[in-house]
């Protein structure tokens, strides 16, 4: 789910950036440092939308770096257990399939795929129902439910299921119209 929250960060700035453009330098350094990163608590920082406040800078002892506490607003993405997400399938194998929802990698195991779907090997491996009406293959869009999340330093792993009602393939761009 996406959230728009206020976060705070202490930014260290080298004296060469002081001067008229101090604030701009600070903001661009913040963007470079923070956008695209991931934290356990907040999830992925997708984009910074605005700076709320920049506190007074404190000169660090021993070096000339100055630390500014910056409060900024940003959009973050964090998956939750129980959440329903749409994702794009990236890899299908006999153990299940891997899908991606933005920066999040989700694995749906065969155990959590409806029993009537069988794995078909081949150069385009897929899961198909017995009557061939529904097919899950690479580049398919699926709706899945997250049953567990785990956050790493740089990535978020999720485990999902499509065994419940209203879950499964939404759209298969490769299927013939």
């Amino acid at each position: 789910m996406f959230f728009h929250i206020v976060l705070e960060r202490n930014m260290q700035l080298h004296p060469r950036f002081f001067g008229r453009n101090l604030r701009e330098n600070l903001v661009s350094k913040l963007m470079k440092d923070v956008e695209g990163t991931c934290s356990g608590r907040h999830g992925f920082v997708v984009a910074i939308t605005g700076i709320e406040s920049v506190g007074k800078g404190l000169i660090r002892d021993g070096t000339a770096f100055v630390t500014f506490p910056v409060k900024y607003q940003c959009v973050v993405f964090r998956p939750f257990k129980g959440e329903i997400l749409e994702a794009v399938v990236t890899l299908v194998n006999k153990m299940g399939f891997f899908a991606e929802a933005g920066p999040v990698q989700i694995f749906v195991s065969k155990h959590l795929i409806p029993d009537d779907m069988e794995f078909q090997a081949g150069d385009m491996p897929n899961y198909t129902t017995s009557d061939g009406s529904v097919k899950i293959q690479k580049e398919c869009e699926v709706r899945l439910k997250i049953i567990g999340t785990r956050v790493d330093a740089t990535e978020i792993f999720c485990v999902g299921t499509i065994k419940d009602d209203f879950l499964g393939v939404i759209n298969d761009p490769a299927a013939a119209a």
Partner: protein, 464 residues
Amino acid sequence: MSVASDSSPVHSSSSDDLAAFLETELDSDSDSDSSSESFPIEAAEVAVVDVSSNHRLKRQKLEHPEDETENVASVTFSEEISEASSSKSPCEHPGTFGNMCFVCGQKVEVTGVSFGYIHKGFKLQQDEVTRLRDIDMKALQSQRKLCLVLDLDHTLLNTTVLRDLRPEEEYLKSHTHSLQDVSGGDIFMLEFMHMMTKLRPFVHSFLKEASKMFVLYIYTMGDRPYARQMAKLLDPKGEYFGERIISRDDGTVKHQKSLDVVLGQEKAVLILDDTENAWPGHRDNLIVIERYHFFASSCKQFDHRFQSLSQLKSDESEPEGVLSAVLKVLKQTHSLFFQDGGEDLSSRDVRSLLKQVRKEILEGCKVVFSRVFPTKTQAEDHPLWRVAEGLGATCATEVDASVTHVVAMDVGTEKVRWAIREKKFVVHRGWIDAANYLWKKQPEEKFGLEQLKKQGADDLTVEK
């Protein structure tokens, strides 16, 4: 569809109490996974409830009209649900992604085999691996395929670091094939990896033919980016190997290869590698292949004094080369496995079939060794004796009329003189080694002792 769970009807006269009770019940139930019960809230009770701004109560009220009409149906429906959820056995955690079980989502102790080549962070428990192997076996049998694990370096190709190129090898730089369209190319320059790679002759046909009979795996001691890049050169369309590219980052034991990360049953897997010691636990599945030394650096690596193929400006022959010979062996073993098609294939073991094929090579030969083994050792324990027996020859320590070959290193021995008198074959040990690598009995004339004298006793290259 979630059935809003609730406790049994509350016979409370006070609507506030009911509201509070409902609120607490709904709060606690929203997180739990417990089996739901039917909610025969009576109409009267719900009507009593104040329409406070509590949105949850509103939801109850909205859902209720449905419930009244479908009361009977909902009872049975929710009973089914409670049955289904209560019959769920405790999760066996067959595997983990990140450190969560991928069936129940809970955090579990990370045990089991890591399958990093499939996806980062993916691990499977041993039971699950066994279960998958059994399923795989059935699928393969219906497709009439076995598994083949291929090594890269010195088996299918030879790579050198650009820095190690000798001056006489510089001409190769002008012969390199474009990386944009790798089909049909043999030698590639990989600037970004500071390497040059030469594919072994016949490798494209080999892969094409082998993929019809085997599910192919790559298992190399190189790192993952190297393995992926080589797979792109060998298999640009990704049709032979798919995701089955195992590198040293995926192995469980350092400097060793093992079939534990291969999702195929051991009795249906064959391995093709140039290094026997890399597979300590799976010698019986292994077909040892002669090393491919194209670049000078490769010869140097193994302390060989002969010139490499690039220095000699030649290459292995395609139709009669090593890969072609190995392909024949693979075809033979495959057809033996699926012989009389349809019957109980679960009793067949590719390892014993490989031994069978090997024993046909020197069938009918009786070999005596002369001054090949150090006198203090037991002759039967010597590796060469074992190899000869594995190839189907009978070995003996003394000469008699049934002996067909005498393997010696020196013309002066009594056994050799006897052999010359009796018109038996006299060969040096290279004859046995050649049969071992080329899977075919070699003409004895090429391994006579005169050849040995010409080349010098310490230069025992296998003649092609």
